[in-house]
Subunit: 394 residues, 4 copies
């Protein structure tokens, strides 16, 4: 290992990514609690207690489902569980993740439609309304709330109202927005929400969280293609939260401890307070980015995510070089783009423990310093930090 590699491989000082994010200290402490037998009545009672707390955090009356794998498990399981062979589905794609979800829906659906917009833009509810008016046979609509590789936020409430009006089921991937942004499951008319503890809740990656409406449960139960006796089964876990039931297989005990600590933190800080600091952090970051002459990726600032800021890469700047320099010189790790957005943008996460405005000065200094060097002309880091600080003061 040469010196350069060694430096890149040194532990990060600040992980300012879009997930996995580092965890809240109370979460890290909770992970090390003794592991109990899943069929120990005390563990079963504990599991029920945590699921009910999670319902409070989600604002739902029904108890949510936790699947024992990181949120891609929940997303895959939802696609398999809700789509029956004869179904017509509509996928809404405003980015890499939204489009990617189509890859799970398409092979399972009878007819697959997609509304796709530019990857720096968001889906227009009016377009969805028009489409559903023309295609009343659509039984399921799927959307990604925060398309992380783009850093943009779809209007899930407005879309949800449209979907409900047309009677279709509505699946929302809010993995990287929930707990950093208000998500009112009822008001958004969401039938199946997939999220996870490893983003704005400040927990490690290993679990999926799902809310399932009565309609969605009925659809799954009636769907012969819905997984059963499988890690991909949602149905298997329907009643597993009850202390009197067993588990389909062993839950990830330590991760449940971490989840509880994350929920406790979220509820005790107050969800509205948590959302507010996510929003303010992103606002400070965008102010700083613009002040040093860089461009935001999002087509319009109002669609930029409160949980992640995406910055266009100037011509000639290679994202790997940039991120390596940020790490080696400043100790800061941020996220790259993905697929179509790879090497077109970089992303700074504002999620959970890093969603405090002051974190932006770390990101701005490291980003500005490294970018200036790669561009061959210094960026005005001072202006960036001053602009971010003005937001903090406001």
């Amino acid at each position: 290992m040469n010196d350069k590699t060694a430096a890149v491989n040194a532990p990060a000082l600040f992980t300012l990514t879009t997930g996995p994010v580092n965890c809240y200290p109370e979460v890290l402490s909770a992970l090390g609690k003794p592991v109990f037998y899943d069929y120990d009545p005390s563990f079963m009672a504990y599991y029920e207690k945590v699921m009910k707390k999670l319902a409070v955090a989600l604002g739902t009356t029904d108890v949510p489902i936790v699947l024992q794998g990181e949120p891609v498990l929940g997303l895959e399981a939802a696609a398999y569980s809700l789509v029956a062979p004869q179904d017509t589905v509509l996928n809404l794609a405003s980015g890499v993740y939204g489009a990617g979800y189509g890859e799970w829906l398409k092979p399972r659906a009878g007819v697959f439609h997609e509304i796709r917009v530019a990857y720096n833009d968001v889906v227009d509810p009016v377009a969805v309304d028009e489409f559903l008016t023309n295609h009343p046979e659509v039984g399921l609509v799927a959307v990604c709330h925060h398309d992380t590789p783009s850093g943009t936020i779809n209007p899930i409430r407005e879309i949800g109202e449209v979907v409900r009006k047309h009677g279709a089921l509505y699946v929302v991937d809010s993995v990287s927005a929930w707990a950093g942004v208000e998500v009112d499951v009822e008001a958004c008319c969401i039938d199946l929400l997939v999220t996870g503890p490893n983003k704005c809740l400040g927990c490690p990656p290993a679990l999926s969280i799902l809310t399932v409406s009565e309609r969605a449960w009925a659809k799954m139960a009636a769907n012969p293609a819905a997984p059963r006796a499988s890690i991909l089964s949602i149905l298997d876990w329907k009643d597993a939260w009850r202390a009197t039931e067993g588990f389909p297989f062993t839950p990830s005990v330590s991760e449940i401890y971490g989840l509880e600590a994350g929920i406790d933190r979220y509820l005790s800080e107050g969800p509205a307070n948590v959302w507010a600091r996510h929003a303010k952090t992103a606002e400070a970051m965008r102010a700083g980015v613009k002040a040093m002459g860089l461009e935001l990726w999002a087509a319009r600032e109002e669609i930029a995510s409160p949980t992640c800021t995406t910055i266009k890469l100037p011509d000639g700047v290679d994202e790997t070089e940039l991120r390596n320099l940020m790490k080696v010189r400043y100790g800061v790790v941020i996220s790259s783009g993905r697929a179509e957005t790879f090497n077109k943008l970089v992303r700074v996460g504002h999620m959970g423990p890093t969603a405090f405005p002051l974190y932006t000065v770390l990101a701005l200094t490291a980003l500005g310093g490294a970018m200036g060097e790669l561009l061959g002309k210094p960026l005005d880091i001072g202006a960036a930090v001053a602009a971010a600080e003005a937001v903090m003061r406001g």
Copy 2:
């Protein structure tokens, strides 16, 4: 909650189950380390390092695969990945888990065969040899090494030699035996071993460990039915251990930390030492059980597992009452039977941190005390402990 429920729901003092088991302290400490971004080069290098350590622990030259869900994920993934629609498979079932595996194989195979023996017995390699001689078309043989709900150990090496002779692929579920018993993957001719860190390695439940032979990789690659772009895909993870590759989706970072700590402990204690104390613990337990007049479930003591002791429930003793009384009065939690063995036996685990002979006196006292009360005549706990102690002394 009444008093009885409260007592049953109090935290266990000693978890002497067949998994999840409590973890080694070094594992619990490791779980709380800071979570790093999975695409941080230092995490990628770290992941490679852990996988290479795991290869040492498994005694394989090839780097193993870790799937990001507890071992049922690995088992399900193996069945889906290795069975193509036209294949003839043979399942060997000496217990609930072995038989259950057939449920995943059967719907995917062209032709499904099974050799089933009594659930207190093990599979005879000679019978396998005969069967394969008569059915040369069998392409895959599956067996459960330690059928936990029975507490018996199949002769996986002898069976493996037979399977290899006939040219079939050989899948072994050694989830609850590996790391407590020697498993020589090469010598046993295993093409795909599934195990996990949450049993004898003393880690939490959340990961699957797989070794995959060249033949098995080739089979999967050629199998159009093998999952791809799915949580059930083994293929997606083939090269993910390399620091230069990415991950198909986010690995369970904290669990990888725990896994490393479990491996370090295992290697520093010395695998042969670890196996020896598992064996001695089980020997002491069996001696104690017999000394107080209870019966072992296993048809013959030589097939009883070194990682779990199964004890027949005497007529009239209800397993839930028994286990609740053991918990309320003594603070000890043990495992029940499963499916066909439910309410026929109870199980005391000897896995990882509890696989030390002295733990048996806890289990014997609690089991003997509670059983005596439910039977209405005291059992000779003293004789049980004395017999167990004689083994420790030996």
Copy 3:
């Protein structure tokens, strides 16, 4: 390092000592919380909160004092703070620790008296009354509640009433009894109680806990010999618990976290429940010891401590050999005697996390097995365990 040394140096499986004891899991988790600046207002508020919880645990209306070193610091500080050069003091010694306390009192007192009884017996309140009647000039009486090297419990309430009647200050060392046994500071007329979190509260050793009566504060304030601006000063910490005050020097932040977790555990389990299980554990242990023909050290069973059982060493048995064999063969570590009781007895602690009756079967098996071997004739471990189990059942 030869094999024998290696075995003795292997980590203990069960630490059944009289302290340090292993900690409750919630305490171990709490120790790793982030360390905050002691002058951070949030830490100052937190410290006050913990001290007030501690008052609840101690059952006092006044807020206790925590000194930042293990309980010998508190004991030494108490002696220095309360004894002025002209004072006459009376030390009550029923064991090594009680007698040892005289070594701190004597050089600081004008006149030093001592009532000393056999080290397997306890102080008689009548004798104290007589002494104080004859020596009305005695201003301070000191006693060790549980003289750990003897495992005996002095009648601190009866003695306290006598001391109060005669008007002297009353200092009680209850380091290894408090939180395992009821200590009613008011009813026992205690002016200065010294205890610690590292015994029955299940925390690590690093702090002293003191309750100080108004009379004792007045005495210290008036005593020119009382340490000030010193680690030995109690006075310096009088108001340090208030969020509005500073600290004389940096408190041991992590240990305060552990202390809080220990208090929370104690209060949520319920002090009376905690005392009851300590008592029952000791009762089971004594029953077992006698059943296998060993002798208790305490002159009478009613003076044996609920937090520790002391067992006479039979002639010819060396305590180091015994304890090493217990560790090497069984993984059990117990405590030796100290000073005059060294090599005359061994001690099994029942403190905090190990004060559950089932722990006695571990101690009895290991003690009986090793002792039998050193004596050259097996002890009846079975009878011992059966006798202990009968107590659990009762």
Copy 4:
């Protein structure tokens, strides 16, 4: 609690103080390891191992002494142990801590001298030489290496050479410099160094570390006033590090675990690398402070500490208001002055985990923002951050 108090009492986001500092993650993990009995041979062997590692970290051939209380214990113990009633001592005071040390020396010495300089300056070795030439009877010279309340660094090597030339013993308080700055005990002719793990080593506060020369041991042994059988005794611990010896009283087991983790981190990172990043962090901080028009406290930049930067408070700025605003608005906690420097300066620590240059942008933003508000005219935070970043780049 009103809103203002609540905000000040919220947990700090960034603790950038001069100690206690937050700990390295590996230290926090280590604190939660199981607590073992101090007389368990494995703990005794472990303790010896840690002390020998500590010798490596200190660069001494002799094994150092750890006292079981935060460094003021070590400082007090050193004063009591080395000063005999007839001795003439010289105290060197360039700040609050150095002067404070005289308070312990003076009452114990026969004759007490002091060289005192302005609290923004350092001691001149030439002045010491002259003094000792004129007072050959001086037997002990004491100095504070880094007088934290001033943030200045005394030339301990040059002074040490002078002291040695004159034959006196040399006591150095390097609590807040060691492990952040090179301290060559031999080359500096130090007879007794006091330091601690809770500053630049990144561990919690609870232990003192001492190196003791042969001459210093001899002096203590011959000194009837040196504490014995006391928490203040250094002599009692002389051989306690040997696995074959006992401890004078119970060591703080969990803190020893933390200490080991801190040493391991220090040695694996490489002491010279650690010192370099402390120096660079301070350099960046000073550049930033000056760039926004604030003044350094230190009379000359070359005497400013690499482990702490002290900034003069402008007229009319109250330090409590300033620090509260920094916390409430930015989440940053820094240290105030002490005694004579209180309300004259504020201090930003660069110690252990926060001694990375990028941390300075947090401190500069929060300090500049809050100070600007209290001054009623914004400071140029941008210029500050840019200047700091230029140092990182250099």
